[in-house]
């Protein structure tokens, strides 16, 4: 019998939870704030769905009832992507080691 593709996706999902578990435990506590902002940024990969939704209208109607939600979601996700990665970068640039000279 053929395996439902859903099971494959479920496997990816479950394994990713474990990967996430081990990777996040190895994050140093001093970087927990950047961790939150970067997870914020990457979870906005939901923009993929937003783009599909936005382009779901046909040639004549760009803004149909369903694509409007897509466009709105694009704005929200884009704020998060740019804001999240840039603020993470800004934070990480501040973490400096002690200078050797006294």
């Amino acid at each position: 019998m053929e395996i439902d593709p859903f099971i494959f996706r479920l496997s990816i999902f479950i394994l990713s939870i474990f990967v996430g578990y081990y990777v996040v435990w190895s994050v140093t506590p001093s970087l927990h704030t950047p961790l939150m902002s970067v997870t914020n940024a990457i979870s906005s990969v939901i923009i993929v769905g937003a783009i599909i939704a936005a382009l779901s209208g046909n040639e004549g109607v760009i803004f149909s009832s369903s694509s409007i939600y897509g466009f709105l979601a694009i704005i929200l996700a884009a704020i998060n992507i740019f804001g999240g990665f840039l603020v993470t970068q800004r934070m990480l640039a501040m973490y400096k080691k002690k200078k050797k000279d006294k």
């Binding site: 990967v19 996430g20 940024a41 779901s56 939600y69 740019f82």
Partner: protein
Amino acid sequence: MSANLSATLYLISGVLFILALRGLSSPETSRQGNLFGIIGMIIAISVTFLSLGNFTSGFIYVLIFLAIGGSIGAFIAYKIPMTAMPELVAGFHSLVGLAAVFVAISAFINPEAFDLGAPGSIKLASLIEMAIGAAVGAITFSGSVIAFLKLQGIMSGAPITFKGQHALNALLLILIVILTFYLCSTQSSNLFWILIAVSFLIGFLIIIPIGGADMPVVISMLNSYSGWAAAGIGFTLENTALIITGALVGSSGAILSYIMCKGMNRSFFNVILGGFGATAETKGDKSKEQRPVKSGNADDAAFLMKNASSVIIVPGYGMAVAQAQHALREMVDTLKKNDIKVSYAIHPVAGRMPGHMNVLLAEANVPYDEVFELEEINSDFANADVAFVIGANDVTNPVAKTDPQSPIYGMPVLDVEKCKSVLFVKRSLSPGYAGIDNDLFYKENTLMLFADAKKMTEDITKNL
């Protein structure tokens, strides 16, 4: 672009996201990690465009909306002060949640675009995934908005509780399950809208009873929710990048909540059920008696520190409120010039979000190898001459180790009282959020410095 190729590329972007988190294991590799994350995102977005192959006028609009959102995001990222990071993160969580809701709505209205069947006869599995994604997204959205308002001070940080609160929440959760069930059998759009509305309500109700100092748990929890919402949508869209990312973010937020709860020695449910501050306050009132306190001025503090050979600094939320991190670093610079060894001790729940203090100290150019976590530094207090507590309170309270009656008993605390002398910068003797008196105030070797944290540190620096 063929479906197999795009699926492979989505997988690659998922792996890049894993590497982005992996990079955060040390500050040196973290910047590279962030770059991996950005590349992963660029791949995911490009693949989506290419696989849709729809470069008509709609595509132009997508780019325009992308640019609008992008510039808003970039503007916020550059403008936001580091002290406002908890608010920013809460705000961003709400956007992820709302975006998930919007995508789910769009997929419900027009399932053909997502290959999920026709309106009114959406595939059962897709419908369930959609409902989960929308519900979790809506909870994330309204919960994060409340968290944002509380952190921003627009809404009072005090827990809001009322009778039957938990029963109502439980009832609404059951209602969601029932709604999902009927949604699957009837495919009615009305039920879908009601489901989303009820979810918004739950998010709101879950966060209002939680007090300000429990915010680290709340933010981490909402972080986790935003991940699960993304994963739910990922299943609907059959998109690997989204599923992997959702799982990563979901477990990341869950681990952070766990760490924060452990830092307060409270169970997750205890925090979520809320009302902590309210019950503890009544207990604190009983033991209100006048006890002698030694208070001093900047001159005394400077004298003590000048004659010390090692100083440990304990920052807390008060430092963030007073924006005292730069003044603090200047004081430490002066101390170091006098050959005094200085290190920083950070309690896991200091501040309003995980790692809050570390970011503020990094902003003030404090090298990260002078900053230590509780377990790393706790044994050093006994050998240190001066502990300088600035804006922290409950995390230094020895009662947590000695009094089993105390609401914070068992919470890991910094052993500040073991220092030869303790300098406590605080505006008044008022108890912390837990509503309990800090025994440290009345110790023989404690000198209270009643002043604004920033002003006091500046004055000490002048006197050094």
